[in-house]
């Protein structure tokens, strides 16, 4: 009789322990899944930071380009206009003479 009772108690203890083992495993699983979310968020944040940095750099490069483009265009335009002025000065007397000639020549 005692042997039987001791045996049952042992079984109950073992049963309890077993339940604890499984419960612990389940808890560990939950924790692991929570970790998945946290680690995922961290990786995502890192990726976003990386893309942001790339974007910032593109932005800076672009405005640098714009600035130099404006300068280049302005210089080119100025040169074109100076050249035009020179050409005009060269040709002007001839043109004026031609115009006056046409005004003062009458073919009847």
């Amino acid at each position: 009789m005692e042997k039987g009772q001791g045996g049952i108690q042992q079984l109950l203890a073992a049963e309890q322990e077993a339940q604890q083992i499984v419960a612990a495993a389940r808890a560990a699983k939950s924790a692991r899944l929570k970790q998945a979310k946290e680690e995922a968020e961290r990786e995502v944040a890192e990726y976003r930071a990386q893309r942001e940095a790339e974007f910032r750099k593109k932005l800076a490069d672009s405005s640098g380009d714009s600035g130099s483009n404006v300068k280049r265009l302005e210089a080119e335009t100025h040169e074109k206009i100076e050249h035009l002025k020179q050409e005009a000065a060269k040709v002007s007397p001839e043109v004026v003479e031609l115009l006056i000639k046409y005004v003062t020549t009458v073919k009847n």
Binding site: E17, A18, A28, K37, Y47, R51, I81, L84
Partner: protein
């Protein structure tokens, strides 16, 4: 028996642990991939807008500088017209050639109008010249037009504006004549200024071509 229970529990715990790892990896991967894709799209859109903005800005600047050049061309050509206007003022100073010119202008106007009776108007300072050459002009016209009569009244009440004077602003006239039919309905403006306007307009394409080579930009 006890061992069996414990073993069963540990096996179950292992299964749970393995599935935990699997689910961990899947969950993490899914979240990361989904979020990364969204971020990638977001930044690609931003970068595209940046590119578009850059191109628009450059195009605007290019247009602005083209306009500047075109404006400069226009100003230079106008400058030439003004230079001609200045020189025009001295045409009437050479009395001999100016008289001949006045005669030719009168004849030209007469031939254009082909009226029997006309009114002629000139600058006050030119009245004497006009009167001097009027007969010759009439004769030349009558011969060329094959008519035997023409009447011209030289207006000595109203005159064309005087020569340009920097001290006196307002309208000026460098010379020439205006002829009108008697009723005033048909007018031939044969002033030097009007002629310059016409010639300038006609010759503008040629002048521009000579200066700017035809590309125009």
């Amino acid at each position: 028996m006890v061992r069996f229970i414990k073993q069963e529990a540990e096996e179950k715990a292992n299964e749970i642990a393995v599935s935990a790892e699997e689910e961990f990896n899947i969950e993490k991967l899914q979240i990361v991939e989904a979020e990364k894709r969204k971020i990638k799209q977001e930044y690609e859109r931003k970068e595209k807008q940046l590119e578009i903005r850059k191109r628009i800005d450059y195009s605007m600047q290019l247009n602005a500088s083209r306009l500047k050049v075109l404006q400069a061309q226009d100003d230079l050509v106008q400058g030439m017209k003004e230079a001609a206007e200045k020189q025009l003022a001295s045409v009437s100073h050479h009395h001999h050639s100016y008289r001949k010119l006045l005669k030719d202008l009168i004849v030209q106007a007469l031939l254009r109008l082909k009226e029997p009776s006309l009114l002629s108007r000139c600058r006050e300072s030119d009245v004497d010249h006009v009167c001097e050459v009027l007969e010759d002009a009439k004769n030349e016209y009558m011969e060329k037009a094959n008519v035997d009569h023409v009447h011209i009244h030289v207006d000595n009440q109203k005159f064309l504006p005087p020569a340009h004077d920097p001290k006196r602003p307002g309208h000026s006239c460098s010379g020439g004549v205006v002829l009108a039919s008697k009723d005033g309905r048909i007018v031939c403006e044969n002033t030097l200024d009007a002629r310059l306007g016409v010639v300038f307009k006609q010759k503008l394409p040629e002048i521009r071509r000579r200066l700017f080579g035809g590309t125009g930009a």
